[in-house]
């Protein structure tokens, strides 16, 4: 009987968690479309989530594009197909690596920061204080972050895509003896609108996941410093896992033929 009780407890705890997350998500989305909208707070968050993530995302995109060019060159050399480096780099960056790398970097930076900030507000009763001052904490804290992340992530990824391709270009022209104009011409002719837009759609979804996980874990943190620490870890881990899982699903939906 003990085994059943243990299994039951785990299942119930899991279902309770799913239920809490679903109702949190629903109320966050409903509050996104209901006035009032805190425009100034949203702009502040776009600055924090989007603008201040630029250096991290740009650097990782550059090195990812570079290493991609190098690996493809080494691999395709075996078949004498090294001329395809620009095409494969731009495809890999725009479709997969741009959004995923940017998503994971922003998850580490932003989901953690959001969870820590909101978690601290929770344990110091600042969220309760918002309620007593006739301010809906979901509207005041969650909605600006969600909107900011969904708006900034596609922009970040568009920039990451360009820098990633530039990283590939740099490695190809500097150490693999590609001609610059030919590399660019091959890239431009090969890439399609769908390659880019699919990556930007993914980026918006990842942005939503990042802000939602940060806010949700922060909101439900309990106990003092330790609880906030746990919330921060959970936010980053769950955001990263959900980004990779939803990336697969999105790819299979967008490119379903």
């Amino acid at each position: 009987m003990n085994i059943f009780a243990a299994i039951g407890r785990v299942v119930l705890a899991f279902l309770a968690q799913v239920g809490r997350l679903s109702s949190f998500t629903a109320s966050a989305i409903i509050n996104c479309v209901r006035p009032p909208v805190y425009g100034w707070l949203t702009l502040q968050q776009i600055l924090r989530i989007g603008y201040f993530s630029l250096p991290v995302v740009g650097l990782t995109a550059f090195f990812t594009g570079g290493v991609l060019a190098l690996q493809i060159f080494i691999g395709s050399d075996r078949y004498g197909a090294e001329a395809f480096v620009p095409q494969i780099v731009v495809l890999g960056i725009t479709r997969e690596l741009g959004p995923v790398i940017a998503g994971l970097m922003v998850a580490g930076r932003v989901a953690a920061a959001i969870a820590a900030e909101i978690g601290t507000m929770r344990v110091t009763e600042q969220i309760d204080a918002l309620t007593t001052l006739s301010t809906n904490p979901i509207k005041y804290l969650v909605v600006p972050r969600l909107i900011a992340a969904v708006v900034s992530m596609p922009i970040l990824v568009a920039i990451a895509d360009s820098i990633g391709v530039f990283g590939g270009y740099t490695v190809a022209t500097q150490s693999l003896n590609f001609s610059g104009p030919v590399y660019l011409k091959n890239t431009m002719e090969f890439v399609t609108n769908q390659d880019i837009t699919s990556g930007l759609i993914k980026a918006a979804v990842f942005g939503f996941i990042i802000a939602l996980m940060g806010c949700y874990n922060g909101f439900h943190s309990k106990g003092g410093a330790q609880g906030v620490g746990a919330a921060t870890t959970n936010a980053v881990v769950s955001a990263s896992i959900l980004i990779l899982a939803s990336n697969y699903i999105l790819t299979s939906v967008i490119f379903a033929k």
Binding site: T124, E125, L133, S134
Partner: protein, 258 residues
């Protein structure tokens, strides 16, 4: 005192978290203009009770009336309007650390009522003066203030939008005895001047005696005694006697094991 409906009334309010019963049928009445202090040990559900009245927590059973209106079912805008009647001073002051002091005090006016910032700032500075803080404190951030000053700012924020009912959650906890008495005096004078109804929770008996018209004791999720402050020493209740004299022996056994 009892002219018609009480300002706040709790009837059989129950709340539990998992298997742990925190409130087990609380009945409580506060008349308009009265200052009620609920005393009780740590972890007896005092804070939970206040959070139920404010709708931060939803009671499992029972009813809560404010001005004769049942409030536990309120949602959305009706609840926002209802909350405008209240001010609350939190235990740790709960000031927003991303905002400056005056923005904290004016928060309810700007966000809750849509007042313009200039006018709200003037009111905030006026309220800060009422709790003995000068205008230059208004520009500081909460982390630059001492615990006592944070409590004062919290009090200024609680009274900023002229509420009818103010809740004080352990107003003197964590303060030195002199600062605690300063806060008590501020509470008493504020309440007298504004003519508000208050509900405070504390385990500090000196504070309770100073600010209360009426005292109620919460023990094991129920109100076990209530009466006027001057009767607290002759309550004839062994639990109350043990608590107000702070004795380790008596009917209340501290559960040392968690």
């Amino acid at each position: 005192m009892t002219n018609g409906t009480p300002k706040v009334e709790l009837r059989g309010v129950k709340k539990r978290f998992g298997n742990k019963v925190v409130l087990d049928g609380v009945d409580l009445k506060i008349d308009a203009g009265q200052s009620l202090v609920v005393i009780g040990g740590s972890g007896t559900g005092k804070s939970v009770m206040i959070k139920c009245v404010l709708g931060i927590l939803r009671p499992d059973a029972g009813q809560i009336f404010v001005d004769g209106e049942e409030v536990t079912k309120l949602r959305g805008r009706a609840r926002d309007a209802y909350l405008k009647k209240f001010g609350m001073l939190f235990q740790g002051a709960a000031l927003f650390d991303s905002l400056r002091v005056w923005e904290n005090v004016a928060f309810g006016l700007i966000q809750g009522r849509g007042m313009d910032r200039k006018q709200a700032k003037d009111i905030a500075i006026e309220k800060l003066a009422k709790v003995g803080l000068s205008a230059d404190v208004a520009m500081l951030s909460p982390s630059e203030l001492s615990g006592g000053m944070q409590k004062r700012v919290g009090l200024a924020r609680a009274i900023a939008s002229d509420p009818h009912i103010i809740f004080f959650d352990e107003p003197t906890t964590g303060l030195d005895p002199i600062m605690a008495d300063v806060i008590n005096d501020l509470i008493v004078s504020t309440v007298e001047r504004m003519g508000v109804t208050t509900l405070s929770i504390t385990h500090d008996m000196a504070s309770a005696r100073k600010i209360a018209d009426k005292i109620a004791m919460l023990y094991k999720g129920k109100i076990i005694w209530d009466g006027p402050t001057e009767h607290i020493d002759s309550s004839g209740n062994a639990f109350v006697d043990q608590f107000i004299h702070g004795r380790a022996d008596g009917p209340i056994k501290m559960e040392v094991r968690a």
